[in-house]
Symmetry: C2
């Protein structure tokens, strides 16, 4: 059975590789056309998708999935329209492939260009939300990559139904049907095969899901991984902050949505303004249903504050809970972020440009924000159209990963009979 | 003993991490100054370096190292001057850190910049040539990265002596002494510890050496690897080639230096011009001491041609041996390269611009050359000043890796109190 699965996956890998070669040479127009067909097909197959989704939801309820999980899983006409229009937005974006990043000539007359090209075959492993099937497929196709998708078992039928729509659209397009493939089984060993690279047919793995998924992928993958780890984000209110602005930003950074990776988990406040700022800030947070955990000094500002443990400062709550810590100065704030942060998104609120500049330079996170909410950590807000995730690794791509980041490059060298001297 | 080594390495990792934080904030001037001091110190400690090198050479002879290995290992005043002036060239290059790659503003007034920053701590594992100790250290420092170097046991004393010069230079500079560290033991288990990432203190491993080293690194590393694999390069003579130019380019691509990764291993020739081109080409190659292996058709053109096996087309000879294969057309040449090549460097020789353009687009190698020798595959020839290797991976960096490729980026977001709408 597992051998059988392995063989099936090898065929998937081989046809992905063949599709990747064709996609790498496909015109921007052909790719946009295929994406538009996918959007149309998802709309016209919405009944079948909703029926499949109902089956997943029923199974989910039987398995006692949490309300939050069920909500992430659930589709309706609005959400399907959202999926289709997101694909149209990706279709409308500039094509990153073939873009000349740089051109130059050497003194010997040899000329060089550095050109963006697709990565090849991308393996995508994700959980719950079925829209990822369409989003990831569309972003990979836009950037000229073939992809092999492996969704979570809880969304198995929804993913299959969305994928069926994608396949019929591809069949009517100029692009290979196997440009976007979905592993058609919930067998867990399929993930292991995918992580091993399917006989060198997978160039990169992108995991998107909980900590345990990412950890498994990072430990087992034999191909490069573009991982989206946790977002342990900080908002730091500097001595020279506009305190009204600070309050508004902190409320948004923590509570706009608590379940997103760009939500702030820890508020750092300069000691010099703590007395002026914190009592009202904590009052407003508490009133809006946010639990506040703090160091001793913070506890003295409001009776509702619970003690924060060392572990709390390392915790991505993804819930209406915030840590507060009073720091001596800018450097202490940066040191805290460097020690406890996850290199995702961190913000300073200050009217002092020098402090903001130093914070920007010294905080080693993918996204460093000045006078704005950490919740802007999102490919759409960056103008990338859509994102496949937010990378917290340091190599290849950091921060929101859009179509343009799913590329690599090659050098084209143009000579006129140049030979290299001894 | 191994526990002891592990602890020693952990301390190296910790101080590298601390150095990386300081280097990330160091000014371009301080880095250039430190590099100049290193060059000076290497010149003034040349006697000590040569003495250490003599010890390595003596050990190497006792261990029956090949003449080629001994030559790679050997230093003299000229080579030491070469090392020092190469560091000066790196010092003189533009500083890549802080470079704004892109700036833009979103309609809501939030502004973004994408800025080049160092990767962090780079572990470098290499064999034989002691100049790599200086080159790699200098390139990492230029790009704001701390590095942990692990040279081959055969160059142990030479590497230590060069590293001593580097350390005295750093001590007199504004940068941390631990910016460039060398693992001070030949114990092989040190490599394993380094590959495991030394408690999350190593951000990337760069191996540079033979196939078995690269294979071990790729299978054991728990951190991202920027690998330089083999260069199985092709030169393809198209129907519309200028045949005199083709002959000159092929001679250079194969024989200028046979031991470099950019040397051509296989010559592809269009069937339509084989009769006109091959007899003289083979004659010239043979006369110049190059063994020619070919398919049956090629064998018919010259008595000296030996039969080429399937394995031969997969072999990086790094020697005066060349495979010749006659192909039907451009597409057949591209298919051959795609099947047998290593994605390093491949060239087409043709006067037909359409053919050249299609070759450039369809050949999926890091470097694709038109009408020039594959031996231009070299960071210096690209204008990168110096290279730490040539990456044959697809992610992060491809082709020659100079200081600018040893960086990653972060996004700086500038708001005026921006909060994200629901």
């Amino acid at each position: 059975m597992s051998d059988n699965l392995h063989n099936q996956l090898k065929i998937i890998g081989k046809s992905a590789r063949a599709a990747a070669r064709a996609l790498g040479l496909a015109s921007a127009a052909d790719k946009s056309d295929a994406l538009q067909r996918i959007a149309d097909e998802i709309r016209s197959q919405s009944d079948a998708i909703l029926k499949a989704n109902a089956e997943d939801l029923e199974n989910g309820k039987a398995k006692d999935l949490s309300a939050a999980m069920l909500d992430r899983l659930a589709l309706n006409q609005d959400r399907i329209e959202g999926i289709a229009s997101s694909i149209e937005a990706i279709a409308a974006m500039d094509d990153p492939v073939g873009l000349v990043e740089k051109e130059w000539e050497q003194p010997n007359g040899l000329s060089f260009s550095k050109v963006k090209i697709p990565i090849g075959v991308i393996g995508m492993i994700y959980e719950s939300r079925p829209n990822v099937t369409a989003d990831a497929g569309a972003l990979c196709l836009k950037s000229g990559n073939a992809c092999i998708l492996r969704g979570g078992s809880e969304a198995f039928h929804s993913n299959q139904a969305i994928h069926r729509a994608i396949v019929s659209a591809l069949q009517s397009s100029a692009l290979p049907e196997s440009s976007i493939q979905l592993i058609p089984t919930t067998d867990r060993s399929a993930v292991g095969h995918l992580l091993s690279g399917l006989d060198n047919t997978v160039d990169m793995i992108i995991p998107r899901g909980g900590k345990s998924l990412i950890a498994r992928v990072q430990s087992d993958a034999r191909v490069p991984v573009l991982a989206h780890l946790e977002g342990l984000c900080h908002s730091y209110v500097h001595t020279d902050a506009n305190l009204d602005m600070a309050k508004e930003i902190v409320m948004n950074a923590k509570l706009r949505r608590t379940g997103v990776c760009g939500s702030t988990e820890t508020l750092l406040v300069d000691a010099a303004i703590a007395t002026k700022f914190l009592p009202q800030m904590i009052e407003t947070l508490t009133k809006n249903g946010c639990e506040v955990r703090g160091d001793e000094a913070t506890q003295s500002y409001h009776t509702s504050v619970k003690p924060a443990t060392e572990d709390d400062y390392f915790t991505e709550y993804l819930a209406a809970i915030i840590n507060v810590k009073i720091v001596d100065d800018l450097q202490a704030a940066i040191d805290h972020i460097s020690h406890y942060g996850s290199g995702h998104t961190d913000a300073i609120i200050t009217e002092n440009q020098d402090a903001a500049d130093y914070f920007h330079q010294a905080v080693d996170s993918a996204i460093v924000v000045h006078n704005a909410s950490t919740q802007f950590a999102d490919g759409g807000e960056f103008g990338f159209g859509a994102e496949i995730g937010i990378s917290t690794g340091r190599l290849h791509a950091r921060g929101p990963v859009g179509a343009e980041h799913l590329t690599t490059y090659k050098y084209l060298v143009h000579g006129q009979g140049h030979i290299r001297p001894k």
